[in-house]
Amino acid sequence: MPDGGDNVLDVRGLKTVFRTRGGEVHAVNSVSFHLKRGEVLGVVGESGSGKSVTMMSLLRLLPSPPAEIREGQVMLGGQDLLKISPQALRDVRGAKVGFVFQDPMTSLNPVFTVGNQIMEPLMRHKGMTRTQARQRAADLLELVGISDAANRLNSYPHQYSGGMRQRVMIAIALSCDPDVLIADEPTTALDVTIQAQILELVKGLRQKLGMGVIWITHDLGVIAGIADRVMVMYAGQVVEHGPVRDLFGNPQHPYTRALLKTIPSLTGKRAARLQVIEGQPPIMLSAPNACPFRARCAHAMPVCATQNPPRHAMDGVTLGQGHDVACHWTPEVAYA
């Protein structure tokens, strides 16, 4: 696990809402987190829990309207990304922050060659000439494990397989040596054997390049394999956060506990019946003044309906530095 280092990214109290005809959807509610150099932060949650919207908000990638970033601060290299001008933001996107989008089939432009698409950020951000950019693009393809890179640059995305396209996305995101790499479900569309290749690749690269990585997924297995710290999101809020071993070994929030129990294991004893979380995730139309998980929670208490629990540290250290949980029912007993 990488030791400390300063924060490359610090997000505080981020709130994003979508204005829809049915009312305001509170997609991200006071989300705070930080990311250190050389560290992998895993973000887990079901679809609609606000993982992607949070990350898109950081770079103001959401179309507005309907999206609106209400509050918050996103500090990267001494500037607040939510306040800087669109021109300044363009120098951040792709240069200081690399983004790997979920679907490699639709995120690459089908009418440009792969080489062109890797060269574009290099020429835009690094001021390289075509020849320099081409050379660097070939190096990058090599780096992400595509053989015969120099010739492959002339291929179009459709000539690549899914795993290769995903690697091209990673190569583009890495092209300008970003401080932060945000990977939004980068392996969800891939098969397990290809997924294993990508995970090994990113693990190797963050050590080599020392960047901070935010890895979004709904697959707890992937998180267990790659992350140093984990943030569990539910209904647009962070419900639990902590070092990966603490969080998996000693989950505190009833949602995290239930989630870990619903997944059948590949080894160990086979349960006769799978545990389920009854009910559905809430629709976030009302302002969040109650615990969003209470309707599905086995430990719900009267206070859960009147007060949205704040995150509190489990082990006495500063909030965000160790293991913290947002729940009124705290099984301190379990935390031995």
Partner: protein
């Protein structure tokens, strides 16, 4: 305990022709399924796993003849459905049903739940409208949906509930055999468990036989009695569940299992076998063993001949030259499928 095979598949082949050039000449075939044989016992769940493009869904669809077979036979409950005449096939349909992957796409958005579930009943039974409605209510009860939902439309439901509607439709005609083609792949983790539990309950109650197609190896371990691992149109290994997960015999099965991420940091960081390269195209599979281009234990013979699926241990069938080649699986295939453990089938 089941004693007979409900489904017998022998040397099933599904080729999709490629036409090219101005004259649209037949220039090749995508060999989606290239010689697959297995049995499914009455009352058991056979898991079918593999990566995308390995032909697992094609097998599922061919089994209930949603495609015309290229070669081979599929005997379900004593009848070879590959050669049945259209009218006979229509009468056979109620025995075999399918639950599709995408509950959003497999339900007609312009029809109510009642209309969707009623369609097979109208087609295959002579129930009066009142009897039909009673049956629809009974089916909704069975899959855990409120009877009041009968007049609603699919868009009013969540993914998990839609999948329940799809299951109710598949159950409408009291089938014996259901092909579940990735029934949980489109659902969230917390909802997947609900649907899997429902499928298991229905199996217990109605004595159903499932072919459970999935790429989720952990879920297949939970639901299946035996598991077939497919690679590029062929079965690499077919073993009882516990044997396969404890000690996979085929190198591909081994690599596939090792690639799965366990939700436990201690286990997830174990040494894994990372396969290099991509799956070859099924239009142009390797000359020898289909896995020879990526196999970490490849030998010379693997590049020239295709290994037959043979029994290497009681109840375990493997297609690999690493194991002594004895009698290939042919007419005696049934013998290989005798359950080896008491209680393997519940």
């Amino acid at each position: 305990m089941p004693d007979a095979a409900l489904v017998q598949v022998r040397d099933l082949k599904m080729y999709f022709p490629i036409y090219s050039g101005i004259l649209r000449r037949h220039t090749g075939d995508v060999k989606a399924v290239d010689g697959v044989s297995f049995d499914i016992m009455a009352g058991e769940t056979l898991g079918l796993v593999g990566e995308s493009g390995c032909g697992k869904s094609t097998v599922g669809r061919a089994l209930i003849r949603l495609y015309e077979l290229t070669a081979g036979s599929v005997v379900i409950d004593g009848e070879d459905i590959g050669t049945l005449a259209p009218e006979a096939l229509r009468r056979k349909r109620p025995t075999m049903q399918m639950v599709f992957q995408d509950p959003q796409a497999s339900l007609n958005p312009r029809r109510t739940v009642a209309q969707i579930i009623a369609e097979p009943l109208q087609e295959h039974t002579s129930l009066t409208p009142a009897e039909r409605m009673a049956r629809i209510h009974e089916l909704l009860d069975q899959v855990g949906l409120n009877r009041r939902f009968a007049s609603r439309f699919p868009h009013e439901f969540s993914g998990g509930q839609r999948q329940r509607i799809g299951i109710a439709r598949a159950l409408a005609l009291n089938p014996k055999f259901i092909v579940c083609d990735e029934p949980i792949a489109a659902l969230d983790v917390s909802i997947q468990a609900q649907v899997v539990n429902l499928l298991e309950d229905l199996q217990d109650r109605l004595g159903l036989t499932y072919l459970f197609i999935s790429h989720d190896l952990s879920m297949v371990r939970h639901i299946a009695d035996r598991v077939a691992v497919m690679y590029l149109g062929r079965i690499a290994e077919l073993s009882p569940r516990d044997a396969l997960y404890d000690r996979p015999l085929h190198p591909y099965a081994e690599a596939l299992l090792s690639a799965v991420n366990e939700p436990d940091p201690a286990l997830a960081r174990r040494e894994r076998i990372v396969l290099q390269g991509d799956v070859p195209s099924p239009a142009n599979p390797p000359k020898g063993c289909n896995f020879c281009t990526r196999c970490p234990r490849v030998m010379d013979i693997c590049r020239t001949a295709k290994p037959p699926l043979i029994q290497v241990e009681p109840g375990r069938l493997v297609a690999c030259f690493l194991y002594p080649q004895t009698v290939p699986v042919g007419s005696t295939v049934g013998a290989a499928f005798q359950p080896t453990q008491q209680g393997a089938y519940t």
